[in-house]
Symmetry: C2
Subunit: 257 residues, 2 copies
Protein backbone atom coordinates (compact mmCIF):
# COMPACT_ATOMS: atom_id res chain seq x y z
CA UNK A 1 0.00 0.00 0.00
CA UNK A 2 1.17 3.51 -0.86
CA UNK A 3 1.87 5.00 2.60
CA UNK A 4 3.61 8.37 2.56
CA UNK A 5 4.13 11.28 4.87
CA UNK A 6 0.85 13.28 4.50
CA UNK A 7 2.65 16.56 5.31
CA UNK A 8 4.28 16.26 1.88
CA UNK A 9 0.88 16.84 0.32
CA UNK A 10 -0.48 20.06 1.70
CA UNK A 11 -1.99 21.12 -1.63
CA UNK A 12 -2.77 24.52 -0.12
CA UNK A 13 0.36 24.74 2.01
CA UNK A 14 2.85 27.50 1.34
CA UNK A 15 6.01 25.56 0.60
CA UNK A 16 5.44 21.98 -0.39
CA UNK A 17 3.05 21.16 -3.20
CA UNK A 18 4.00 17.87 -4.76
CA UNK A 19 2.45 16.40 -7.87
CA UNK A 20 0.60 13.10 -7.96
CA UNK A 21 1.81 10.15 -10.04
CA UNK A 22 -0.96 8.29 -11.86
CA UNK A 23 -0.27 4.82 -13.24
CA UNK A 24 -2.91 4.31 -15.91
CA UNK A 25 -3.59 0.90 -17.48
CA UNK A 26 -4.22 0.99 -21.24
CA UNK A 27 -5.42 -2.56 -21.78
CA UNK A 28 -4.14 -5.19 -24.22
CA UNK A 29 -3.66 -3.06 -27.33
CA UNK A 30 -6.99 -2.16 -28.94
CA UNK A 31 -7.44 1.56 -28.10
CA UNK A 32 -11.16 0.93 -27.53
CA UNK A 33 -10.25 -1.41 -24.64
CA UNK A 34 -9.01 1.57 -22.63
CA UNK A 35 -11.36 2.20 -19.69
CA UNK A 36 -13.57 5.27 -19.56
CA UNK A 37 -11.57 6.38 -16.51
CA UNK A 38 -8.22 5.95 -18.26
CA UNK A 39 -9.46 7.94 -21.27
CA UNK A 40 -10.52 10.74 -18.91
CA UNK A 41 -7.24 10.73 -16.95
CA UNK A 42 -5.16 10.78 -20.14
CA UNK A 43 -7.23 13.67 -21.49
CA UNK A 44 -6.73 15.66 -18.27
CA UNK A 45 -3.00 14.99 -17.96
CA UNK A 46 -0.46 17.83 -17.74
CA UNK A 47 2.51 15.53 -18.29
CA UNK A 48 2.20 12.13 -19.96
CA UNK A 49 5.10 9.69 -19.55
CA UNK A 50 5.55 6.44 -21.46
CA UNK A 51 8.11 3.74 -22.11
CA UNK A 52 9.45 2.80 -25.55
CA UNK A 53 12.28 0.75 -26.95
CA UNK A 54 15.04 3.17 -27.97
CA UNK A 55 14.50 4.34 -31.56
CA UNK A 56 11.06 2.71 -31.83
CA UNK A 57 7.61 4.30 -31.51
CA UNK A 58 6.00 3.74 -28.11
CA UNK A 59 3.20 1.13 -28.10
CA UNK A 60 1.72 2.76 -25.03
CA UNK A 61 1.61 6.19 -26.68
CA UNK A 62 0.01 4.68 -29.81
CA UNK A 63 -2.80 3.11 -27.76
CA UNK A 64 -3.40 6.34 -25.83
CA UNK A 65 -2.98 8.76 -28.74
CA UNK A 66 -6.65 9.41 -29.44
CA UNK A 67 -7.19 10.45 -25.81
CA UNK A 68 -4.16 12.76 -25.45
CA UNK A 69 -4.84 16.45 -24.90
CA UNK A 70 -3.24 18.62 -27.57
CA UNK A 71 -0.29 20.46 -26.07
CA UNK A 72 0.29 18.17 -23.09
CA UNK A 73 3.92 17.68 -22.14
CA UNK A 74 5.35 14.28 -23.11
CA UNK A 75 8.11 12.44 -21.27
CA UNK A 76 9.63 9.56 -23.24
CA UNK A 77 11.41 6.89 -21.19
CA UNK A 78 13.52 4.95 -23.71
CA UNK A 79 14.65 1.45 -22.73
CA UNK A 80 18.33 0.61 -23.19
CA UNK A 81 19.01 -1.39 -26.35
CA UNK A 82 18.65 -5.11 -25.62
CA UNK A 83 19.87 -6.85 -28.76
CA UNK A 84 23.54 -7.09 -27.77
CA UNK A 85 23.20 -8.72 -24.33
CA UNK A 86 20.83 -11.55 -23.37
CA UNK A 87 17.76 -10.70 -21.25
CA UNK A 88 18.92 -12.85 -18.35
CA UNK A 89 22.54 -11.62 -18.19
CA UNK A 90 23.68 -9.71 -15.11
CA UNK A 91 24.82 -6.97 -17.49
CA UNK A 92 21.30 -6.48 -18.80
CA UNK A 93 19.75 -6.65 -15.32
CA UNK A 94 22.15 -3.90 -14.20
CA UNK A 95 21.41 -1.75 -17.26
CA UNK A 96 17.70 -2.13 -16.62
CA UNK A 97 18.02 -1.18 -12.96
CA UNK A 98 19.90 2.02 -13.94
CA UNK A 99 17.24 2.78 -16.52
CA UNK A 100 14.42 2.37 -13.99
CA UNK A 101 16.32 4.54 -11.50
CA UNK A 102 16.85 7.32 -14.06
CA UNK A 103 13.22 7.11 -15.21
CA UNK A 104 12.00 7.41 -11.61
CA UNK A 105 14.21 10.47 -11.15
CA UNK A 106 12.87 12.14 -14.31
CA UNK A 107 9.30 11.58 -13.12
CA UNK A 108 10.19 12.74 -9.60
CA UNK A 109 11.58 16.00 -11.00
CA UNK A 110 8.14 16.84 -12.42
CA UNK A 111 6.36 15.78 -9.21
CA UNK A 112 8.74 17.94 -7.15
CA UNK A 113 7.80 21.04 -9.11
CA UNK A 114 4.14 20.34 -8.29
CA UNK A 115 3.21 18.85 -11.62
CA UNK A 116 1.09 15.66 -11.83
CA UNK A 117 2.45 12.92 -14.09
CA UNK A 118 0.36 10.28 -15.86
CA UNK A 119 2.43 7.20 -16.66
CA UNK A 120 0.88 5.16 -19.47
CA UNK A 121 1.03 1.41 -18.85
CA UNK A 122 0.20 -1.30 -21.38
CA UNK A 123 -2.15 -3.91 -19.88
CA UNK A 124 -2.72 -3.57 -16.14
CA UNK A 125 -0.11 -1.48 -14.26
CA UNK A 126 0.34 -3.86 -11.31
CA UNK A 127 0.34 -7.11 -13.31
CA UNK A 128 3.84 -7.63 -14.77
CA UNK A 129 3.98 -3.93 -15.66
CA UNK A 130 7.12 -1.80 -16.01
CA UNK A 131 5.17 0.66 -13.86
CA UNK A 132 6.01 -1.43 -10.79
CA UNK A 133 9.70 -0.56 -11.11
CA UNK A 134 8.77 3.14 -10.87
CA UNK A 135 6.17 2.54 -8.17
CA UNK A 136 8.55 0.79 -5.76
CA UNK A 137 11.08 3.62 -6.17
CA UNK A 138 8.62 6.49 -5.57
CA UNK A 139 5.92 5.08 -3.29
CA UNK A 140 7.36 6.48 -0.07
CA UNK A 141 7.87 9.97 -1.46
CA UNK A 142 4.80 10.78 -3.54
CA UNK A 143 1.10 10.13 -3.70
CA UNK A 144 0.47 7.49 -6.36
CA UNK A 145 -2.93 6.62 -7.82
CA UNK A 146 -3.48 3.57 -9.98
CA UNK A 147 -6.14 3.01 -12.61
CA UNK A 148 -6.54 -0.72 -13.33
CA UNK A 149 -6.58 -1.84 -16.96
CA UNK A 150 -7.62 -4.91 -18.94
CA UNK A 151 -4.59 -7.22 -18.72
CA UNK A 152 -2.87 -8.49 -21.83
CA UNK A 153 -3.93 -12.00 -20.87
CA UNK A 154 -7.63 -11.06 -20.63
CA UNK A 155 -7.29 -9.59 -24.13
CA UNK A 156 -5.88 -12.93 -25.29
CA UNK A 157 -8.71 -14.92 -23.63
CA UNK A 158 -11.28 -12.86 -25.57
CA UNK A 159 -9.32 -12.92 -28.84
CA UNK A 160 -9.05 -16.71 -28.62
CA UNK A 161 -12.60 -17.19 -27.32
CA UNK A 162 -11.02 -19.38 -24.64
CA UNK A 163 -13.22 -20.07 -21.57
CA UNK A 164 -10.15 -19.77 -19.42
CA UNK A 165 -11.09 -20.42 -15.80
CA UNK A 166 -14.43 -21.48 -14.36
CA UNK A 167 -15.84 -23.34 -11.42
CA UNK A 168 -13.00 -24.00 -9.00
CA UNK A 169 -10.18 -24.02 -11.55
CA UNK A 170 -6.67 -23.20 -10.29
CA UNK A 171 -4.87 -20.85 -12.67
CA UNK A 172 -1.08 -20.59 -12.86
CA UNK A 173 0.62 -17.72 -14.68
CA UNK A 174 4.16 -18.65 -15.67
CA UNK A 175 7.03 -16.85 -17.41
CA UNK A 176 8.57 -19.13 -20.06
CA UNK A 177 11.99 -18.05 -18.74
CA UNK A 178 11.70 -20.77 -16.06
CA UNK A 179 13.67 -24.03 -16.50
CA UNK A 180 11.94 -26.69 -18.60
CA UNK A 181 11.47 -29.07 -15.69
CA UNK A 182 9.82 -26.36 -13.58
CA UNK A 183 7.53 -25.40 -16.46
CA UNK A 184 6.51 -29.03 -16.98
CA UNK A 185 5.74 -29.57 -13.30
CA UNK A 186 3.80 -26.32 -12.91
CA UNK A 187 1.79 -26.90 -16.08
CA UNK A 188 0.93 -30.47 -15.06
CA UNK A 189 -0.18 -29.36 -11.58
CA UNK A 190 -2.59 -26.63 -12.73
CA UNK A 191 -6.15 -26.73 -14.10
CA UNK A 192 -5.50 -23.73 -16.36
CA UNK A 193 -2.31 -21.91 -17.33
CA UNK A 194 -1.08 -18.78 -19.05
CA UNK A 195 2.54 -18.71 -20.22
CA UNK A 196 4.16 -15.37 -21.01
CA UNK A 197 7.59 -14.07 -22.10
CA UNK A 198 7.92 -16.51 -24.97
CA UNK A 199 10.54 -15.27 -27.49
CA UNK A 200 13.63 -17.48 -27.37
CA UNK A 201 11.97 -19.71 -24.75
CA UNK A 202 9.40 -21.06 -27.18
CA UNK A 203 11.05 -24.39 -28.05
CA UNK A 204 11.59 -25.13 -24.38
CA UNK A 205 7.95 -24.30 -23.65
CA UNK A 206 6.77 -26.64 -26.40
CA UNK A 207 8.77 -29.48 -24.83
CA UNK A 208 7.33 -28.63 -21.40
CA UNK A 209 3.76 -28.65 -22.76
CA UNK A 210 4.39 -32.04 -24.37
CA UNK A 211 5.92 -33.33 -21.14
CA UNK A 212 2.83 -32.21 -19.22
CA UNK A 213 0.50 -33.83 -21.78
CA UNK A 214 -1.06 -30.44 -22.62
CA UNK A 215 0.02 -29.72 -26.17
CA UNK A 216 -3.44 -30.61 -27.56
CA UNK A 217 -5.23 -28.21 -25.21
CA UNK A 218 -2.83 -25.29 -25.65
CA UNK A 219 -3.58 -22.21 -27.77
CA UNK A 220 -0.95 -19.86 -29.19
CA UNK A 221 -1.90 -16.14 -29.25
CA UNK A 222 0.23 -13.45 -30.91
CA UNK A 223 -0.77 -9.75 -30.87
CA UNK A 224 -4.13 -10.49 -29.18
CA UNK A 225 -6.75 -7.73 -29.90
CA UNK A 226 -4.29 -5.93 -32.24
CA UNK A 227 -3.64 -5.64 -35.98
CA UNK A 228 -1.79 -8.75 -37.14
CA UNK A 229 -3.39 -10.95 -34.47
CA UNK A 230 -2.53 -14.66 -34.88
CA UNK A 231 -4.34 -17.39 -32.98
CA UNK A 232 -3.90 -21.11 -33.49
CA UNK A 233 -3.86 -24.42 -31.62
CA UNK A 234 -0.28 -25.13 -30.46
CA UNK A 235 -0.47 -28.40 -32.36
CA UNK A 236 -0.84 -26.39 -35.61
CA UNK A 237 2.14 -24.15 -34.91
CA UNK A 238 5.03 -25.82 -36.68
CA UNK A 239 7.73 -23.15 -36.42
CA UNK A 240 9.50 -21.96 -33.27
CA UNK A 241 9.26 -18.23 -33.90
CA UNK A 242 7.34 -16.30 -31.24
CA UNK A 243 7.55 -12.68 -30.13
CA UNK A 244 8.43 -12.07 -26.48
CA UNK A 245 4.91 -10.75 -25.80
CA UNK A 246 3.02 -13.64 -27.40
CA UNK A 247 1.23 -15.98 -24.97
CA UNK A 248 0.22 -19.60 -24.66
CA UNK A 249 -3.11 -20.38 -23.01
CA UNK A 250 -4.21 -23.70 -21.53
CA UNK A 251 -7.94 -23.23 -20.77
CA UNK A 252 -9.37 -24.89 -17.67
CA UNK A 253 -12.23 -27.36 -17.75
CA UNK A 254 -14.33 -26.14 -14.84
CA UNK A 255 -13.17 -27.99 -11.72
CA UNK A 256 -16.01 -28.85 -9.36
CA UNK A 257 -15.73 -27.86 -5.68
Amino acid sequence: MNIIDPSLHKKDGANVVLGVLRGVGLGPGDPELVTVKAARLIGEAEVVAYFAKRGRPSNARAIAERWLRRGCEELLLAYPVTTEVPFDSSEYVAALASFHEESAQKIAAHLCRGCDVTLLCEGDPLFYGSFIHIYIRLQRRFRIEICAGVSGMSGCFAAAGAPMTWGDDILTVLPATLPQQTLTERLAASDAAVVMKLGGNFKKLRRALKGAGLIERAIYVERGTMAGEKIMPMSDKTDDEAPYFAMVLVPGRGRRP
Copy 2:
Protein backbone atom coordinates in the same frame (compact mmCIF):
# COMPACT_ATOMS: atom_id res chain seq x y z
CA MET B 1 -12.50 -21.05 -30.06
CA ASN B 2 -16.03 -20.28 -31.22
CA ILE B 3 -16.37 -22.47 -34.33
CA ILE B 4 -19.86 -22.66 -35.80
CA ASP B 5 -21.50 -23.58 -39.07
CA PRO B 6 -21.10 -20.37 -41.14
CA SER B 7 -24.27 -21.12 -43.12
CA LEU B 8 -26.20 -20.27 -39.95
CA HIS B 9 -25.08 -16.68 -40.34
CA LYS B 10 -26.06 -15.51 -43.76
CA LYS B 11 -27.05 -12.03 -42.53
CA ASP B 12 -28.53 -11.34 -45.97
CA GLY B 13 -29.83 -14.85 -46.58
CA ALA B 14 -33.56 -15.37 -47.03
CA ASN B 15 -34.35 -17.79 -44.23
CA VAL B 16 -31.78 -17.92 -41.50
CA VAL B 17 -30.71 -14.72 -39.81
CA LEU B 18 -29.47 -15.49 -36.33
CA GLY B 19 -28.53 -12.90 -33.74
CA VAL B 20 -25.07 -12.52 -32.27
CA LEU B 21 -24.37 -13.03 -28.57
CA ARG B 22 -21.97 -10.48 -27.07
CA GLY B 23 -20.33 -11.20 -23.72
CA VAL B 24 -19.29 -7.81 -22.41
CA GLY B 25 -16.95 -7.41 -19.43
CA LEU B 26 -17.91 -4.61 -17.02
CA GLY B 27 -14.80 -4.52 -14.86
CA PRO B 28 -14.48 -4.77 -11.08
CA GLY B 29 -17.38 -2.54 -10.00
CA ASP B 30 -16.57 1.15 -10.56
CA PRO B 31 -18.72 2.11 -13.59
CA GLU B 32 -15.84 4.27 -14.86
CA LEU B 33 -13.71 1.11 -15.18
CA VAL B 34 -15.94 -0.11 -18.01
CA THR B 35 -13.98 -0.01 -21.29
CA VAL B 36 -14.85 2.47 -24.03
CA LYS B 37 -15.80 -0.51 -26.21
CA ALA B 38 -18.10 -2.00 -23.56
CA ALA B 39 -19.82 1.36 -23.06
CA ARG B 40 -20.43 1.55 -26.82
CA LEU B 41 -21.71 -2.04 -27.09
CA ILE B 42 -24.07 -1.58 -24.14
CA GLY B 43 -25.41 1.65 -25.66
CA GLU B 44 -26.05 -0.08 -29.01
CA ALA B 45 -27.69 -3.18 -27.54
CA GLU B 46 -31.17 -4.28 -28.57
CA VAL B 47 -31.48 -6.81 -25.76
CA VAL B 48 -29.40 -6.61 -22.59
CA ALA B 49 -29.21 -9.71 -20.39
CA TYR B 50 -27.78 -9.89 -16.88
CA PHE B 51 -27.57 -12.18 -13.89
CA ALA B 52 -28.84 -11.35 -10.41
CA LYS B 53 -29.53 -13.15 -7.18
CA ARG B 54 -33.28 -13.78 -7.00
CA GLY B 55 -35.03 -10.83 -5.33
CA ARG B 56 -31.90 -8.66 -5.34
CA PRO B 57 -30.87 -5.86 -7.70
CA SER B 58 -28.35 -6.97 -10.34
CA ASN B 59 -24.78 -5.74 -9.70
CA ALA B 60 -24.02 -6.05 -13.39
CA ARG B 61 -27.01 -3.89 -14.34
CA ALA B 62 -26.03 -1.28 -11.74
CA ILE B 63 -22.51 -0.98 -13.20
CA ALA B 64 -23.84 -0.73 -16.76
CA GLU B 65 -26.82 1.49 -16.03
CA ARG B 66 -25.35 4.79 -17.18
CA TRP B 67 -24.55 3.27 -20.59
CA LEU B 68 -27.93 1.58 -21.23
CA ARG B 69 -30.01 2.87 -24.13
CA ARG B 70 -33.45 4.04 -23.03
CA GLY B 71 -36.02 1.53 -24.21
CA CYS B 72 -33.69 -1.42 -24.71
CA GLU B 73 -35.19 -4.79 -23.86
CA GLU B 74 -33.91 -6.29 -20.59
CA LEU B 75 -33.60 -9.98 -19.81
CA LEU B 76 -33.09 -10.78 -16.13
CA LEU B 77 -31.52 -14.16 -15.35
CA ALA B 78 -32.23 -14.75 -11.65
CA TYR B 79 -30.03 -17.26 -9.80
CA PRO B 80 -31.78 -19.90 -7.72
CA VAL B 81 -31.80 -19.09 -3.99
CA THR B 82 -28.67 -20.47 -2.37
CA THR B 83 -29.16 -19.95 1.34
CA GLU B 84 -30.84 -23.30 2.05
CA VAL B 85 -28.28 -25.66 0.50
CA PRO B 86 -24.49 -25.41 0.72
CA PHE B 87 -22.56 -24.21 -2.35
CA ASP B 88 -20.70 -27.51 -2.71
CA SER B 89 -23.70 -29.87 -2.33
CA SER B 90 -24.72 -31.98 -5.32
CA GLU B 91 -28.20 -30.49 -4.90
CA TYR B 92 -26.89 -26.98 -5.47
CA VAL B 93 -24.67 -28.04 -8.37
CA ALA B 94 -27.73 -29.62 -10.05
CA ALA B 95 -29.88 -26.52 -9.42
CA LEU B 96 -27.17 -24.33 -10.92
CA ALA B 97 -26.82 -26.53 -14.01
CA SER B 98 -30.59 -26.28 -14.63
CA PHE B 99 -30.44 -22.54 -14.16
CA HIS B 100 -27.59 -22.17 -16.68
CA GLU B 101 -29.45 -24.40 -19.13
CA GLU B 102 -32.65 -22.34 -18.83
CA SER B 103 -30.72 -19.08 -19.12
CA ALA B 104 -28.99 -20.30 -22.29
CA GLN B 105 -32.39 -21.25 -23.74
CA LYS B 106 -33.86 -17.82 -22.97
CA ILE B 107 -30.92 -16.13 -24.69
CA ALA B 108 -31.10 -18.58 -27.62
CA ALA B 109 -34.78 -17.71 -28.14
CA HIS B 110 -33.80 -14.09 -28.83
CA LEU B 111 -30.88 -15.09 -31.06
CA CYS B 112 -33.15 -17.42 -33.06
CA ARG B 113 -35.53 -14.59 -33.86
CA GLY B 114 -32.55 -12.65 -35.28
CA CYS B 115 -32.05 -10.38 -32.31
CA ASP B 116 -28.54 -9.71 -30.93
CA VAL B 117 -28.12 -10.14 -27.17
CA THR B 118 -25.57 -8.35 -25.00
CA LEU B 119 -24.85 -10.31 -21.83
CA LEU B 120 -23.38 -8.11 -19.09
CA CYS B 121 -20.54 -9.77 -17.19
CA GLU B 122 -18.93 -8.45 -14.01
CA GLY B 123 -15.14 -8.47 -14.28
CA ASP B 124 -13.76 -10.25 -17.34
CA PRO B 125 -16.21 -12.65 -19.08
CA LEU B 126 -13.75 -15.53 -19.56
CA PHE B 127 -12.08 -15.32 -16.14
CA TYR B 128 -14.28 -17.11 -13.59
CA GLY B 129 -17.36 -15.53 -15.17
CA SER B 130 -20.90 -16.94 -15.18
CA PHE B 131 -20.79 -16.08 -18.87
CA ILE B 132 -18.72 -19.22 -19.50
CA HIS B 133 -21.67 -21.43 -18.56
CA ILE B 134 -23.72 -19.75 -21.29
CA TYR B 135 -20.81 -19.71 -23.74
CA ILE B 136 -20.14 -23.46 -23.57
CA ARG B 137 -23.86 -24.16 -24.16
CA LEU B 138 -24.26 -21.87 -27.19
CA GLN B 139 -20.84 -21.75 -28.86
CA ARG B 140 -21.64 -24.33 -31.53
CA ARG B 141 -24.95 -22.75 -32.51
CA PHE B 142 -24.41 -19.00 -32.56
CA ARG B 143 -21.77 -16.42 -33.31
CA ILE B 144 -20.38 -15.14 -30.01
CA GLU B 145 -18.21 -12.04 -29.59
CA ILE B 146 -16.41 -11.27 -26.39
CA CYS B 147 -15.30 -7.90 -25.06
CA ALA B 148 -12.61 -8.32 -22.39
CA GLY B 149 -12.98 -6.41 -19.13
CA VAL B 150 -10.82 -5.39 -16.19
CA SER B 151 -10.87 -8.44 -13.90
CA GLY B 152 -12.05 -8.19 -10.33
CA MET B 153 -8.54 -9.09 -9.21
CA SER B 154 -6.93 -6.26 -11.22
CA GLY B 155 -9.38 -3.90 -9.51
CA CYS B 156 -8.20 -5.24 -6.15
CA PHE B 157 -4.51 -4.84 -7.07
CA ALA B 158 -5.12 -1.14 -7.83
CA ALA B 159 -7.35 -0.57 -4.79
CA ALA B 160 -4.69 -2.09 -2.53
CA GLY B 161 -1.77 -0.46 -4.37
CA ALA B 162 -0.22 -3.93 -4.41
CA PRO B 163 2.65 -4.43 -6.91
CA MET B 164 1.31 -7.89 -7.59
CA THR B 165 3.57 -9.63 -10.08
CA TRP B 166 6.83 -8.42 -11.62
CA GLY B 167 10.02 -9.78 -13.03
CA ASP B 168 9.62 -13.53 -13.38
CA ASP B 169 7.08 -14.02 -10.59
CA ILE B 170 4.83 -17.08 -10.80
CA LEU B 171 1.22 -16.21 -9.94
CA THR B 172 -1.29 -18.75 -8.67
CA VAL B 173 -5.00 -17.98 -8.55
CA LEU B 174 -6.79 -20.24 -6.08
CA PRO B 175 -10.39 -20.68 -4.97
CA ALA B 176 -10.57 -20.88 -1.17
CA THR B 177 -12.96 -23.82 -1.61
CA LEU B 178 -9.90 -26.11 -1.96
CA PRO B 179 -8.87 -28.29 1.03
CA GLN B 180 -6.62 -26.55 3.58
CA GLN B 181 -3.62 -28.77 2.81
CA THR B 182 -3.88 -28.00 -0.93
CA LEU B 183 -4.19 -24.29 -0.24
CA THR B 184 -1.10 -24.35 2.02
CA GLU B 185 1.00 -26.22 -0.55
CA ARG B 186 -0.05 -24.03 -3.48
CA LEU B 187 0.48 -20.82 -1.54
CA ALA B 188 3.92 -21.93 -0.37
CA ALA B 189 4.97 -22.91 -3.91
CA SER B 190 4.04 -19.61 -5.59
CA ASP B 191 5.77 -16.23 -5.75
CA ALA B 192 2.44 -14.38 -5.77
CA ALA B 193 -1.11 -15.52 -5.10
CA VAL B 194 -4.71 -14.40 -5.37
CA VAL B 195 -7.32 -16.29 -3.36
CA MET B 196 -10.98 -15.93 -4.29
CA LYS B 197 -14.36 -17.36 -3.16
CA LEU B 198 -13.76 -16.58 0.51
CA GLY B 199 -17.08 -16.57 2.42
CA GLY B 200 -17.27 -19.57 4.74
CA ASN B 201 -13.78 -20.65 3.68
CA PHE B 202 -12.09 -17.72 5.36
CA LYS B 203 -10.96 -19.42 8.59
CA LYS B 204 -9.49 -22.29 6.61
CA LEU B 205 -7.67 -19.84 4.36
CA ARG B 206 -6.19 -18.02 7.36
CA ARG B 207 -4.82 -21.34 8.65
CA ALA B 208 -3.41 -22.13 5.20
CA LEU B 209 -1.71 -18.70 4.96
CA LYS B 210 -0.18 -19.25 8.41
CA GLY B 211 0.95 -22.73 7.40
CA ALA B 212 2.63 -21.30 4.31
CA GLY B 213 4.32 -18.55 6.33
CA LEU B 214 2.51 -15.86 4.34
CA ILE B 215 0.14 -14.22 6.80
CA GLU B 216 2.39 -11.15 7.16
CA ARG B 217 2.52 -10.55 3.39
CA ALA B 218 -1.18 -11.11 2.73
CA ILE B 219 -3.69 -8.30 2.09
CA TYR B 220 -7.45 -8.60 2.55
CA VAL B 221 -9.60 -6.71 -0.01
CA GLU B 222 -13.37 -6.40 0.24
CA ARG B 223 -15.45 -4.55 -2.41
CA GLY B 224 -12.34 -3.39 -4.30
CA THR B 225 -13.00 -0.18 -6.37
CA MET B 226 -16.58 0.03 -4.98
CA ALA B 227 -18.45 1.94 -2.27
CA GLY B 228 -17.71 0.34 1.10
CA GLU B 229 -14.23 -0.82 0.02
CA LYS B 230 -12.21 -2.35 2.89
CA ILE B 231 -8.49 -3.06 2.60
CA MET B 232 -6.23 -4.23 5.39
CA PRO B 233 -3.23 -6.42 6.11
CA MET B 234 -4.45 -9.96 6.91
CA SER B 235 -2.59 -9.68 10.22
CA ASP B 236 -4.95 -6.79 11.18
CA LYS B 237 -8.13 -8.68 10.33
CA THR B 238 -9.25 -10.23 13.60
CA ASP B 239 -12.72 -11.50 12.68
CA ASP B 240 -13.56 -14.36 10.31
CA GLU B 241 -16.34 -12.63 8.38
CA ALA B 242 -15.69 -12.26 4.65
CA PRO B 243 -18.07 -11.96 1.70
CA TYR B 244 -17.79 -14.64 -0.98
CA PHE B 245 -16.40 -12.10 -3.48
CA ALA B 246 -13.72 -10.64 -1.19
CA MET B 247 -10.12 -11.57 -2.11
CA VAL B 248 -6.80 -12.15 -0.43
CA LEU B 249 -3.68 -10.99 -2.27
CA VAL B 250 -0.11 -12.12 -1.65
CA PRO B 251 2.03 -9.74 -3.76
CA GLY B 252 5.15 -11.12 -5.43
CA ARG B 253 8.63 -9.77 -4.83
CA GLY B 254 9.98 -9.64 -8.37
CA ARG B 255 11.69 -12.99 -9.08
CA ARG B 256 14.81 -12.65 -11.20
CA PRO B 257 15.14 -14.81 -14.35
